[in-house]
């Protein structure tokens, strides 16, 4: 019989199982279940279409951000090509849904697999390269993929974009924000579940070993290259699934959004959320998406209020400025991200009133 207990005041784990457990107490597990129930029963029915749209986008970006966190936060391989991988996923899904008329529930995972393959190809330089050099190689990958997406016109229809048919699962058509909410968030929960469990297995531990010291990891018998490739594959799989969901959700896709800016945005999410923390990726994705929407709203408001009449201000420069400032401030003042902020808040409650 399990006992219900509260958090202890410190770290008193004395077995490895206690160290890798996901929910430290049964209250945590109950809270997570309750959160899910609230998420699925209240959120989609109590929000307006715009808020629901933002929440859906947060869900999709969270999937991609978790993927990047596996690569950057856990394996320590910095990638500047994640935005392009999301694009590959989106295009793979779109091409499968139009030319090959695959159904939705096959197209999404297959798009993930295709992207995983592409990601592994672009992870190949990690045989010989690490650190800065690998980052530059992924930067080249970003530009090359972008070029292929625009110029392989027979396949991707170039700058015209592709319009997708509506998605359906088991004869039920998925249309509109509300039904997509369920699809997106069920996928997000499944992907989060998989990611947190990969990190508890030997694969996850190998990733972390490579991040902490790759030479020591190799000395301990971890085939580094194979695991780095695996990390690239898993991370790109997440990107591909996110891209495929995005393509089906937005109905039409073009090459424009999948540029270097998007890759940088994903890296920012991982850093702002907290590296090496699955929940942190979700925080980071929420932060950046909400920041974008707030800035758009703010510039609209200022324009309408007539304060900036003579300035010809549009959203781009303000967005760049605030986005950059957010990254810089987080790195300088809270490099472990929102996940750490959340942990500090929780532990100060836990130790109240006797914290020191």
């Amino acid at each position: 019989m399990r006992k219900l207990w509260f958090h202890p005041c410190g770290n008193f784990s004395n077995r490895y199982e206690q160290e890798i457990t996901i929910f430290e107490t049964d209250f945590g597990r109950a809270a997570a279940l309750l959160g899910m129930v609230v998420l699925f029963t209240l959120v989609p029915f109590m929000t307006g279409p715009y808020v629901l749209y933002v929440i859906n986008i947060i869900g999709i970006t969270s999937i991609a951000a978790i993927g990047l966190n596996i690569l950057v936060g856990f394996t320590g391989q910095i990638s500047l090509g994640h935005g392009a991988f999301v694009g590959v996923g989106a295009y793979a899904a779109a091409i499968m849904a139009t030319s090959l008329s695959f159904p939705f529930w096959i197209a999404v995972p297959v798009a993930g697999l295709v992207t995983a393959l592409v990601g592994m190809v672009f992870g190949m330089p990690s045989v010989r390269l690490k650190g800065l050099y690998l980052t530059i190689a992924t930067l080249a990958g970003q530009f090359i993929i972008e070029y292929i997406l625009v110029h392989w016109e027979s396949l991707t229809r170039g700058t015209m974009g592709i319009i997708l048919p509506s998605a359906s699962i088991l004869g039920i058509t998925i249309e509109g924000d509300r039904s997509f909410f369920f699809v997106i968030f069920i996928s997000l929960i499944a992907m989060t579940y998989i990611a947190s469990n990969i990190m508890r297995t030997r694969y996850g531990r190998a990733f972390i070993a490579i991040r902490d010291n790759d030479r020591a990891a190799e000395g301990m018998g971890i085939p580094i290259f194979r695991y780095k490739l695996l990390a690239f594959g898993v991370s790109s799989f997440y990107a591909g699934v996110a891209g495929a969901l995005l393509a089906f959700y937005l109905i039409s896709i073009s090459t424009e959004p999948f540029n270097l800016g998007l890759s940088v945005e994903y890296l920012a999410m991982v850093i702002i959320g907290g590296m090496g923390n699955i929940a942190g990726s979700v925080f980071g994705a929420t932060f950046i998406t909400v920041l974008n929407e707030v800035l758009r709203w703010l510039t609209d408001f200022l324009m309408n209020a007539g304060i900036l009449e003579g300035f010809q201000l549009n959203v781009a420069p303000l967005r760049e400025l605030v986005f950059g400032a957010a990254i810089v401030l987080f790195i300088l003042f809270e490099p472990r991200g929102l996940a750490e902020v959340w942990r500090i808040i929780r532990s100060s409650f836990r130790l109240w009133p006797f914290s020191y």
Partner: protein, 292 residues
């Protein structure tokens, strides 16, 4: 044949500019091992300061040039002081992302102040600098680019070889701990290398602005083209930056001229992947050997 030679000339001139831009980049990397993603924005900042001084404040060109160089120098110094110094010893990703964030901030600021329009400088270069050689015409800007490139290459060569600061910088690049214990002021070296790098960047921004016009987006994208150049030349070799710049410049113009103009922008990165696969430390870079 004429077409070939014209392309050759264009390629060499553009290559010198890339090399010049890459030189500042290598400078920072050599002393503090920081990969500067905000280099294109430093270029653009120099170009815009010069533009404001020349067209708005009506400062004579020569003084405007000097003031711009001084301004860029101070800008580099401030950036190092405020943002990079707290991160000494932090993991690589934080440093990279910090420069990415800085790039974003600079870009946003410049867009707020000057907007996304294309500006051009008033014509101030004397036209007798241009070289007419049969049917081949070299515009004055390209001549200036080559002269500036050669001038600064020699200047830096001498600086690193003979001046005490240059020797300090080389020693810090070689072994930070050892130079600290021998009494080298490592912080000053970092600050100085950022300041000099920003100065060189500002200058190449001015020259690029004369050729292509001044636009925030165009100039900051040059900062990304620096990567193939420095990888080809070797991340820590100043001379390699110039040679890498020449090769990438030629590659770009010849691809644009003979193959497909749309391939022009992506060919440096394709070359980059090949170089990384075959010779990761570039032509003149320091090879790090590690064995397990």
């Amino acid at each position: 044949m004429e077409f070939f030679i014209q392309l050759l000339v264009n390629g060499i001139s553009i290559g010198f500019l890339y090399g010049l831009a890459a030189m500042g980049f290598v400078m920072i990397f050599k002393s503090s091992s920081v990969l500067n993603f905000a280099h294109g924005e430093l270029l653009a900042a120099g170009a815009f300061i010069f533009l404001t001084l020349v067209t708005w404040a009506k400062v004579p060109v020569f003084f405007a040039f000097l003031v711009t160089l001084a301004g860029s120098f101070i800008l580099g110094f401030i950036v190092e002081r405020l943002f990079l110094r707290p991160l000494i010893g932090e993991p690589l990703i934080y440093v990279i992302m910090l420069t990415v964030g800085l790039a974003s901030i600079f870009k946003g600021l410049m867009l707020l102040i000057w907007g996304g329009n294309l500006y051009i400088y008033p014509d101030f270069l004397p036209s007798n600098l241009s070289i007419q050689w049969g049917n081949i015409h070299i515009p004055p800007v390209y001549v200036v680019a080559i002269i500036i490139g050669l001038f600064f290459l020699t200047l830096f060569g001498l600086f690193f070889k003979y001046s005490s600061q240059g020797i300090y910088m080389r020693s810090v690049a070689d072994n930070q701990t050892a130079s600290l214990s021998l009494g080298v002021n490592v912080r000053r070296v970092f600050a100085l290398s950022w300041a000099i790098a920003a100065l060189v960047a500002g200058m190449s921004g001015i020259v690029l602005g004369i050729i292509n016009g001044i636009n925030v987006h165009d100039l900051s994208s040059v900062g990304l083209k620096v990567f193939p150049v420095v990888i080809l030349g070797g991340l820590d070799s100043i001379g390699g930056a110039i040679i890498g710049g020449l090769i990438i410049g030629l590659l770009e113009t010849f691809t644009g001229g003979y193959l497909d103009p749309s391939l022009r922008d992506v060919i440096p990165y394709i070359a980059l992947v090949f170089i990384l696969m075959v010779k990761p430390y570039g032509l003149f870079g320091l090879v790090e050997i590690e064995r397990v």
